[in-house]
């Protein structure tokens, strides 16, 4: 059975503005894709451990050496808005 999804809730979590038309299409398409994807539940038994990486690595360390890094100008080069050598964004704190 196609999966029912609360599109508005998921879009809010993803910080993604969608048109009503996009929402309708996604509701239908994601429902069908998830129905297919749910097949994983048929074989994923309790005793099967999960795999996050096919070739597991942990604690990849390197010597802590100081090397040249990007200049401030390079870092800010692509920013949509800059002020005083900082990324500028619209207000974050809600005002009562």
């Amino acid at each position: 059975m196609p999966v029912e999804i609360d599109i508005d809730h998921v879009a809010r979590l993803a910080r993604l503005e969608l048109t009503e038309q996009e929402k309708a299409r996604l509701r239908e398409q994601l429902g069908a894709i998830l129905e297919h994807a749910a097949k994983v539940g048929e074989v994923a038994a309790e005793d099967v451990p999960p795999t996050a990486y096919a070739i597991p690595r942990s604690n990849v360390l390197r010597p802590d050496e100081v090397t040249p890094s990007l200049t401030l100008a390079e870092v800010l080069l692509n920013a949509p808005e800059v002020e005083d050598d900082r990324f500028k964004v619209p207000k974050i704190v809600e005002v009562e």
């Binding site: 993604l16 398409q29 297919h36 692509n78 949509p80 619209p90």
Partner: protein, 488 residues
């Protein structure tokens, strides 16, 4: 009569070292081909002609001084998800339309150090999400074998550029088949090495546990040569394996005596076109004639690989693509506060397929659903790896079609995401298991479109995969070229 741009890098390297041709002449040949065909193929998003001239002249000086590494003076193309310092890198997305990276990805840095010549950046599905190149915000790429067909994807531009003689070789990325499937549909060699063998520093991420850089070439020898330049440990990528840089062309001509090949039973069922089956069967017969022992093999959980992939890849993508927030780079659409700015920016900047996967991944990772989807998919990943381990206890290599179909018409599958996802059914398992896999042309179908045969080996079996592919390529003797080239 083929032009310089139609030769392999190995052939061109020999001519360069013998001083029969110059790198500038090779570059001119590629640029003339691009001028002649790219208005129809549309493989390139950006050309870097001036940079290429400068690099070709430098390569010529270097070769004249007796320093001629295999990549020196060879024109290449890079998929537009690979960061190039000072050269726009868009990922085929409106959200990065004006993004100019301040650093180079490691593979290009290594190629540049060896005298590589950059022709430009190639078109691709947006953020490498797609199997037809139709998801690019900047329009589709056309298959050089038939311009009304897709070249495959997501690295469609790189595949088409190499197939049409616009580039001698190219790099792409393969998260679920995005190098091998377009190579198959475009009639070139596509190689995805072991996960972690090539550094991904500077590769703009899609699904980090799967993303692998791969090569497009017109011969297996070139794939080995290109891999030799770019593979090996890089401290800038924590997932890069502790492998030394080495020459993968060594041992390419060792015979197949004693080799055991398993034919993947599940890859010859329903949905595989008869022309694909017939061509791949011929390739399997060639392997027997070369001295390999051919038997049947099975990946019993192959049916579940696609489902697992379409949970794991979008989940990782939804997390990776959270960085496009209109703050540090890329598009910004203004809003009353930061959240509204981000929400509008992402709504305006991402295309339909990227939105679909972000939504799918966000849902699969959200509270209450994580275990049922992402958690279960990770268990299936374990089962797939166990399938391979069992198969490789019996055989050295697995063989299958690369893709169930040859190239399909532009527009044919755009409204049916599930049908589109089925393109990757035979390529996805090697991404889930991290194993090396190559696609080489096995022939043409009845419509004259290329078919690819895929060889998969265990982790870090590159010498075997490349050696067998090289022998098989010689036995198949695929000489066909797109009609477009003859007319160019």
């Amino acid at each position: 009569m083929s032009e310089l741009c139609d030769l392999t890098a190995s052939e061109l390297g020999a001519k360069l070292r013998a001083r029969e041709v110059s790198s500038v002449e090779i570059l001119d040949s590629c640029l003339a081909r691009i001028d002649a065909v790219d208005s129809r193929v549309e493989a390139f998003l950006e050309r870097t002609d001036d940079l290429a001239r400068e690099q070709a002249r430098a390569a010529d000086e270097r070769i004249a001084a007796g320093d001629a590494p295999p990549a020196a003076g060879i024109p290449l193309a890079l998929k537009d998800v690979l960061s190039t310092r000072g050269v726009t890198t868009t990922c085929g997305s409106k959200i990065l339309e004006t993004y100019v990276p301040p650093f180079d990805c490691t593979p290009w840095e290594r190629l540049k150090a060896d005298g590589g010549v950059l022709l430009g950046k190639t078109n691709c599905d947006e953020f490498a999400m797609g199997s037809s190149n139709e998801n690019s915000a900047f329009g589709p790429v056309h298959n050089p074998w038939d311009l009304s067909m897709v070249p495959g994807g997501s690295s469609g531009g790189s595949a088409a550029a190499v197939a049409a003689g616009e580039a001698v070789w190219a790099l792409g990325t393969d998260t679920g088949g995005s190098v091998r499937q377009p190579a198959s549909l475009s009639g070139v060699v596509g190689f995805k090495p072991t996960y972690g063998l090539i550094s991904r520093y500077g590769l703009i991420a899609f699904a980090s546990s799967l993303d692998t850089i791969g090569t497009f070439t017109r011969s297996v020898r070139d794939a080995a040569a290109l891999l030799s330049v770019i593979a090996g440990k890089d401290p800038m990528d924590a997932t890069s394996l502790d492998q030394p840089r080495r020459d993968y062309t060594e041992g390419l001509d060792d015979g197949l005596e004693g080799l055991r090949v398993g034919v993947v039973r599940e890859a010859f069922g329903e949905g595989v076109e008869p022309g694909v089956k017939a061509s791949v069967q011929t390739a399997i017969d060639r392997l027997s004639e070369l001295g390999a022992t051919v038997s049947e093999a099975s990946l019993p959980h192959a049916d579940y690989a696609l489902s697992a992939y379409y949970l794991i890849a979008p989940s990782e993508a939804s997390s990776n693509l959270a960085r496009y927030d209109g703050v540090r780079y890329g598009l910004r659409v203004d809003g009353a506060d930061s959240v509204e700015m981000m929400t509008r920016t992402r709504g305006a900047g991402f295309g339909a397929e990227v939105k679909r996967r972000i939504m799918l991944g966000t849902y699969a990772l959200s509270a209450g659903y994580f275990e049922a989807y992402y958690g279960q998919a990770q268990k299936v990943r374990t089962l797939i790896i166990r399938d391979y381990e069992a198969a490789f206890a019996e055989v050295d290599l697995l063989v299958s079609p690369t893709s169930p179909t040859t190239a399909f018409p532009i527009g044919a599958k755009v409204d049916d995401p599930l049908a589109m996802y089925l393109n990757d059914v035979f390529t996805i398992p090697a991404n889930l298991s991290g194993m090396p896999a190559i696609s080489i042309p096995s022939g043409l179908d009845e419509a004259g479109l290329p078919v690819g045969v895929q060889l998969t080996g265990p982790v870090l079996s590159e010498p075997i995969v490349l050696g067998v592919a090289n022998a098989l390529e010689g036995a198949i003797g695929f000489e066909a070229r797109p009609a477009l080239i003859a007319a160019a």
